[in-house]
Amino acid sequence: MDDPSWVDDVLLAGPSTDVCFRLPDPVDRGTLRRLVGEAQTRLAEAGLRPGGAAALRLPPSLAYVVNLLATWRSGAQAVLLDHRLTDHEVAQALERLTPQVVIAPVRSGGGALKIFVDVTEGVTAYSDRPAGSPHAVIQLSSGSTGPSKVIGRSAASLVAEVRRYTRIDGVALPGERIILLPSMVHVLGLVGGLLYGLHARVTLVPPDRLSGDAVLAAVAADDSPATVLGVPFHIGLLASTRPTGPLPQFRRMTTGGELVPPAVVAAFTDRFGATLGNMYGMTEVGVIGTDLHGRHRPAIAPAPGIEVRESSTGELWVSCPDSPYVGLSDPDRWADGWLHTRDAGTVDPDTGLVTVRGRLDSQVSVGGLKVDLTEVEATLTGLPGVGAAVVVYDNGITAYVQPDGPTSEEALETLLAERLAGYKRPRVLRLLDRLPRTTTGKLVRSTEALRAATP
């Protein structure tokens, strides 16, 4: 494990009176440092040792931020578990990653529409093993082979990404604010929001709740320039609000995830006069490229220090010194310092601009969260009463099931709800007497054929 001094040097340095968060009450740097110190004591008492791991199963909250920093400052690894994962998914992850402690809410207030939740956390001992890898952070990504992929990043990789952000033109500057919408468990909210904000002395402001009006209220709450960080869904929320007064401090909105249609861009910029920027990144390496001024749409410029090349098969490869995968050696995913993104794309030989053309595998994005349809299909196929299943993306995750015993859509939904986080579950689930197959008996995956086979 790396020397923990990076937490103080890169994230917590600065005047005590700096406001790090508005929740909406201000949390200053001095208070944050005190809370982190207190949390370190609690983690140590529960059994966390330098070189061990702590699993955080917390919704976005001050408790999450404090325990994450406290884990790192203890010289330990943080295993980030999205709070939307089911008990089943969490149990599988803990079994593989054997953290020394698990941090989870004992009480939380808020609800489905809250962006930041008021949490009282509890720490429980889990194992006495050291961390399984030297990484500072472990994140889970929906896996193509069923269980989630384990992705690790070193402290050096996180620090390098934070410094990369400081060299990108168009990010929030010291003294400005980031209106934070994406989850801090995932790379955009974690590094682009939380870690960059702490480092660059940008105040992080989660809106009171997930609505267009609440986002605009957060922007309007202060005169300092504001950058809204989110995913394309959030643009729709903002664009559908009723116009009130001008918001000159609303400088820009930056989204990760899928590309935004030109009509949406035009509607947004007409309405707010703010710049709509776009980012491309992956859990494995963080931000890869940006178009924060909307000048290159749909292309992006590689971030400083990042090299992108086009493989002979048209796949985008990104420079990444070490393999980010834990317990997995797959030269199709990482080899010789290059991460194989599984995104099809092109790199302009003259300008170096990168255009992403879509996935080469079964991964889809649901509100900015990556879901591998193979994981959904494998889970569904493993349920009692399911003979075969095909899961496709047809304006949403759509499942077709051929039963081999007594079951119903409701019964399958209930079983899936125990095994898969909500954002991974099918929006549409249909039972068919027979799934369409090719003449050689393979399941057909064309959305048209599946629709046509549905009574």
């Binding site: 489905a112 729709g236 559908s240 609000t241 304006n395 929006r427 549409v428």
Partner: protein, 81 residues
């Protein structure tokens, strides 16, 4: 009262169609967290008031019909102020 006609299933399907960009008759019946956030936002805009839904009410919304029932119940209570 807001003077708006009572909220119906067709209204919510139209709102979801606007979000997903597909015809209202192709909108899935299941409501996830994003759809729910969108519906609350749109209903608040239409009725020009905030919906103060409890955690239990929100957690109980799994389909468009669930959402109609919960929103109607909430709108039948006069808004504060």
């Amino acid at each position: 009262m807001s003077g708006q006609p009572e909220l119906g299933r067709a209204d919510l399907l139209t709102m979801l169609a606007e979000m997903t960009g597909k015809p209202a008759d192709e909108v899935p019946d299941r409501v996830g967290s994003m759809e729910l956030a969108w519906l609350v936002h749109m209903v608040e805009q239409r009725h020009d008031r905030r919906l103060d839904l409890t955690d239990d009410q929100l957690a109980g919304i799994r389909t468009v019909d669930d959402a109609v029932a919960v929103f109607r119940a909430c709108l039948s209570v006069p808004a504060d102020g």
